[in-house]
Symmetry: C2
Subunit: 329 residues, 2 copies
């Protein structure tokens, strides 16, 4: 791991993005979303994913100039088409629009179809919370999770984000996929030759196991809460594809680089600014009184962010070499 400053990473990413056709302004925003993910410790959806993002542009899967276009407005609910634009910029624009709607109507919902991978899900929750609003958003994905009772991946892990703003900027942000352990996490345990802390899926004989390698081999990670997460994943896909009038998981190619035409939902809700902080701090204190190990969603994010900003953002050396090569091509 090397440690780099926010500015130097951002500047390198912007160079690459401009070279593949981004305007200055969009290159800056797109780079920001990647760097913020790594700054907060979400490396797998930050810099580690940047080269693959550029590859998807080279392949024509992601169209650098496309922006979301309004398809239909129902009032507080709007349907937009992402035109196969960059997933993170599309998502950012959609949450910005949901925030705008919420500011006049109490809440706003943007359903977005035909978009690409939004990279780090939590970014759009932080975006709503930074605007002083509650954020709720989710995406569907390619089929990567077997439903409970099944053996082949027919559901997406469909990441879900809920964000609540705090006055001190240390927002409470839940960012969770419907699988108990992500493929990235399983690969890390396998590489370190470590058992998972809890059962995480089935082996090829259909037995529950803590062996990450066996789960990667069978392609059968567990949904959170078994039948419950399986059901929740299904509902998120149904609601996203219906509201967006877009593709559902069954229609999304099972190929990670070409995973495209996703459907997403972005919601923002106005909150009472006055009493908010008093309620939230009591809720958190009450939860923490259950034990010294209790953490709230986003608590570790804030710690990692502070550390990154003080010491530099940790970047895998091979990842950085690949990015530097892209800057020189």
């Amino acid at each position: 791991m090397i440690k780099l400053s926010f500015e130097s990473i951002s500047s390198t990413l912007q160079t690459i993005l401009r070279r593949v056709g981004f305007s200055d302004e969009r290159a800056e925003q797109c780079a920001l979303l990647f760097v913020e993910a790594s700054r907060d410790g979400f490396y797998s959806h930050g810099l580690n994913r940047f080269a693959r993002f550029v590859q998807s542009i080279d392949l024509g899967v992601v169209k650098v100039d496309a922006r979301p276009e309004l398809v239909e407005s129902f009032g507080a609910l709007e349907r937009w088409d992402g035109g196969s634009g960059p997933g993170n910029l599309n998502a950012y624009a959609s949450m910005a629009r949901a925030i705008q709607l919420a500011q006049t109507q109490g809440l706003g919902c943007v359903a977005l179809r035909n978009t690409n991978h939004w990279m780090r899900a939590g970014n759009y929750g932080w975006q709503a919370a930074e605007a002083g609003l509650i954020g709720l958003c989710w995406t569907n994905t390619l089929p990567n999770l077997p439903p409970w009772g099944g053996t082949t991946p027919k559901l997406g892990n469909n990441p879900l984000v809920i964000a609540v703003p705090r006055d001190n900027g240390e927002h409470v942000v839940l960012d969770m996929a419907m699988s108990q352990f992500s493929y990235g996490a399983l690969e890390n345990y396998q590489r370190r030759n470590e058992q998972l802390p809890l059962i995480g899926g089935f082996d090829s004989d259909g037995e529950l196991t803590r062996d990450a390698g066996k789960i990667l081999g069978s392609g059968r990670p567990l949904p959170i809460g078994y039948w419950k997460g399986s059901g929740l994943s299904l509902m998120l896909d149904m609601v996203a594809s219906l509201l967006a009038d877009g593709k559902a998981t069954f229609g999304i190619t099972a190929d990670v680089v070409r995973e495209t035409q996703l459907s997403q939902v972005f919601m923002a809700f106005a909150t009472l600014a006055q009493s908010r902080e008093a309620i939230l701090s009591e809720i958190l204190a009450f939860m923490k009184s259950s034990g010294t190990e209790v953490r709230y969603p986003g608590e570790q994010t804030i710690k990692r962010r502070k550390q990154s900003l003080e010491e530099g953002i940790p970047v895998d050396e091979s990842v950085w070499q690949e990015i530097e090569a892209l800057a020189k091509r």
Copy 2:
């Protein structure tokens, strides 16, 4: 178990409800929500809970005449006060209002404070789906679930419902609490002296166990997906109490009969009626192609409902004796 007709149960419940002060119309609606729960197989929140509901009226916790009153309107988002009215009637009225808002603005959200237990959560999802809309609702509860990393119950199990309408009336309705097994389910396993099918909580030594009795003893059931369900439960409580400007779990008495002043959120979303059924049937067929044991949320409900309507609604004999005694007091 005895089997009774929908009409005979409903008529007995209405007699009791009128006697404790319900108007004819409200007695009919309230009885309907109880009987529908038992008809669909949710006995614990149907007839099995009716005597306790009457007790909470006798104690003055539930005020039979109170109806939700509008506190503030923001457009598509409204805040209502339940005035400690009957939880099921308050919830039904709130979802009805969210449906009305959605019909003009694409979506509607009613945040309700100061209400009582809504009994079977799924009822309000079915209500939205019957109106041809997507329904999303949840409630907070008294503290009954330790957060991940903690040992004492400082979160609620906060049931969450998502419902999607189908043309044939066999709606897809997810109705799930944030605990892996409900207290009712744990008690049933304990009574039958059976191990849980999967680990369901900690014993008093802090070891994960499939022994329902030990989990009831320690008061440490597991949240779904460990840290994930713990985080989701927290967010649902935060959002409900902030939107409703109502009580959060920390402020709700830890006493089942007096569990009151709950905060709830009801949302309804318009959907495309034309293409809807085609998308949904493909999503379901794709998921089911993963294995013959795969079920969608609500699938068993529809089977139980058909059976109940053909053969009569199963009611525990002692439960029915208690209800008949209430009708004669």
